[in-house]
């Protein structure tokens, strides 16, 4: 009987011994991972502001190419309730298109859909100029910008799988603006 008991304990100890290295590894890995655990994830909307650059005197003047394709400028104005998209002809400044949507993520997504259509017609359109009313809160601004910066697929005909995002340039805030 005594021998049987000893054999049982021996077998049990061998099982534990086999798992011990794995247990030790877990004890090291788990605290290490816990210390790096992300309890929240950040989102980032990339924009730029118009920067004034000094002309380089050493640089030779590059002759301007005559651009035969028609160019347009996309302007987005964010207000408390509505976000307005204005497409302007760069030659004469005339409004090509004017649309309004809610100042929400959904509204901005609608505007992005319009911009995508316009982009298919005017290939060189890559930048959206954004003006914001000065008392629009940060949350609203970020939601609209998130909508405008969503990736688009199939914009590049050569590489349809390549993601395209419009560049957003933040213009100075406006206190009052007559957009009608």
């Amino acid at each position: 009987m005594k021998k049987k008991k000893q054999r049982f304990f021996k077998k049990e100890m061998e099982e534990v011994d086999a798992i011990l290295p794995f247990m030790s590894l877990l004890i090291i890995i788990i605290p290490m991972l816990l210390s790096n655990l992300a309890f929240y994830h950040f989102r980032v909307v990339e924009t730029s502001v118009p920067g004034a650059s000094q002309p380089n005197p050493e640089q030779k003047e590059i002759p301007k190419k005559v651009n035969k394709s028609k160019l347009v400028t996309a302007q987005v104005h964010i207000d408390h309730k509505k976000t307005t998209l204005n497409i302007l002809d760069e030659d004469n400044g005339a409004a090509v298109l004017k649309r309004k949507a809610d100042s929400t993520l959904e509204g901005a997504t609608k505007i992005l859909g319009l911009l995508e259509k316009i982009k298919s017609k005017y290939k060189k359109l890559e930048t959206v100029l954004v003006t914001t009313k000065d008392d629009v809160i940060y949350e609203k601004l970020v939601r609209v910008l998130e909508g405008l910066k969503k990736p688009l697929l199939g914009v590049d005909e050569e590489y349809p799988e390549k993601e395209f995002r419009f560049k957003v340039v933040m213009l100075p805030a406006v206190t009052e603006m007559n957009i009608e």
């Binding site: 049990e12 890995i29 655990l37 950040f42 989102r43 730029s48 118009p50 008392d135 940060y138 998130e146």
Partner: protein, 163 residues
Amino acid sequence: MAGKFTGRERKKPEKLNITSLMDALTIILIFLLVNYSEVSEEKEIPAFIELPQIEGKAATATFGLTLVIGENQIKVGKADAIKFSNFDREKDTIILEIKDQLEQMKKEKLERNIAGGEKEKKIKLTVQADRNTPYRYIDEVIRGASELSLNYVDFVSMNKEAK
């Protein structure tokens, strides 16, 4: 005699069952590996702001020079917060102070980049603002920063998992 223990009763050998413990640890390990943050630098959200939450896919966020804008204070990097009671009245002093701190941070960042052998990349300004901050606060600050050639601005929000 019922209920009476006798010395002759054999004790069952105690068996340590670690299978369930191993299962639990393995699940924890998988969970931690999935949520592992690759960001080496810990980024905390200051207590004086509440970031807006936006639904969608999580993306990796890289931080530049951090600027935290709250209702009545602005914090540049790890420097002490600049407190104010009326932004519109005190904005000239606030912007001047922010510009000084940003210039210092930019210089340090460039020195670190050079020491680390990195090529001079564009230095971004990362704005974390309270969800109710009016845009004019942010606008004044980013205009000030653009005078220091900080022309790339990232607006930070928190990712809310899509349902």
